[in-house]
Amino acid sequence: MEIKQTALAGTLESSDIQIMLSKGTDGVSIELESDVEKQFGDQIRLVITETLHQFELDNVKVKAIDKGALDCVIKARTIAAAQRALQTQDQPAWEVF
């Protein structure tokens, strides 16, 4: 699936993550900015990628600015951004949770 518009979810505050999705050309590409990139970078990327796969988003550019978010927060923000990008906010994606 292709995204319909650029979308954003989350904030830059402590323990949160800001996820921005925009049209991509080359699979799922993730640009991650995080103070704990060295320790948790791979895990953060994994959570984002898996969540996007559940929405069947294959071509998408992700910009993620992490401020120490837990996995559940990363997942929630990614879901919100994906649904905004697909303009399906009004249809909760139960199967993804």
Binding site: Q5, T6, T11, E13, M20, E33, K61, I65
Partner: protein, 352 residues
């Protein structure tokens, strides 16, 4: 209400005063009308009655960001105010943002996902959003084996495209394998961006080695060089043009193998005059600057787009043939009533 993000209404005298005195305490003191009038909205955070953080947006540029870090984790309020600004702009479908800040704050913005485009000794310009300068550069058409070619660049507003612009492009086209003509993207001129672009294309269509591209947000745009569009003090112009020149030198020129930039002499506009001086100082040795004498008509007057706009306003269309290529003359005759209407509506025709 503590630490909640609220809208500040700068038209409200009390809030305006509070906002100004908070910024003044933190060293921001320029509240001239042309700076503040461009602000679309302003957000703030209060601690009790005390303003402790604020930030504004003008179009896609973040402005007047100031934060007091007393009694709080360093950076917490900064991150809160910046994310609130970004969220608000995204709701308005503005997905590509800039901030022009003091050099020492560049790191703080990079920490919240901004990328630095260029910096000078005093200031830095950063961007964030769904598309960056790399995407812009990638989308520009290239020729085969561009790495081995002699490539030149020209940046012009072309409001509208005159014989003077044509002469500049021709001069560059004769001396180089490829010439990029970057047309200023900001829509703040009598001729719209689409019209200016079309007229540059039409006026250079016979030159095979000329590629006309939109200058995007990176060349003499409202973000990089607001003084081009607004009357501004000389020192400010120098700050802004230094950044504009460095973006060209460090980002644009290397990506396209541009090693020469052509400028026209500027006898009339002071701002453009300073711009030319700064480019001459900043671009070499990476990019050579060639200044071409401004073309004159057969009777010895300088060809300027300003004179063309004046002729349109004063209905002296006969004089245009001396100043403009046929394609531009035809366009003006076909769209005369639209152009006049824009002038009557108050479009400034004396600036750039």
């Amino acid at each position: 209400m503590d630490n909640e993000i609220v809208d500040l209404h700068l038209r409200d005298r009390h809030e305006r005063k509070q906002w100004e005195s908070f910024l003044t305490d933190l060293g921001i003191t320029d509240f001239s009308t042309q700076e503040t009038a461009a602000i679309d909205f302003t957000l703030g955070i209060y601690e009790g009655d005390r303003l402790v953080a604020t930030g504004s947006a003008a179009g896609n540029v973040l402005k007047y960001i100031a934060v007091c870090n007393k009694d709080t984790t360093n950076g917490a309020r900064f991150n809160a105010i910046v994310s609130a600004l970004i969220n608000r702009l995204f709701q308005q479908q503005i997905f590509h943002l800039f901030v022009f800040t003091k050099l020492k704050y560049s790191d703080s913005f990079q920490h919240v996902g901004f990328h630095e485009l260029a910096h000078s000794d005093v200031a830095a310009l950063l961007e964030t959003g769904d598309e960056g300068i790399d995407d812009y550069l990638q989308a520009i058409p290239r020729v085969a084996d561009q790495d081995t070619k002699q490539v030149a660049g020209i940046v012009m507003n072309a409001n509208p495209f005159t014989k003077g612009h044509r002469y500049l492009v021709e001069t560059a086209a004769k001396a180089n394998d490829v010439v990029y003509v970057f047309v200023v993207n900001t829509d703040a001129s009598l001729f719209t961006t689409a019209e200016r672009f079309e007229l540059v294309q039409a006026g250079t269509a016979d030159l095979d080695n000329v590629i006309v591209v939109n200058g995007g947000d990176y060349m003499v745009s409202f973000a990089t060089f607001p003084a081009y569009f607004l009357p501004t003090a000389d020192q400010q112009v120098t700050y802004q043009t230094t950044l504009d020149a460095r973006i060209f030198r460090e980002r644009i020129a290397p990506a396209l193998n541009i090693t020469a930039r052509y400028l026209g002499t500027e006898p009339l506009s002071r701002t453009t005059g300073i711009y030319n001086q700064v480019l001459t100082k900043e671009l070499p040795p990476a990019v050579n600057v060639t200044i071409v004498d401004r073309k004159q008509t057969d009777t010895g007057t300088f060809i300027t787009a300003t004179a063309v706009r004046k002729a349109i306003a004063e209905d002296q269309l006969d004089s245009l043939a001396d100043l403009l290529p046929v394609s531009t003359v035809t366009f003006i005759k076909d769209h005369l009533s639209t152009l006049r209407a824009r002038i009557q509506k108050g479009m400034n025709i004396n600036g750039n």
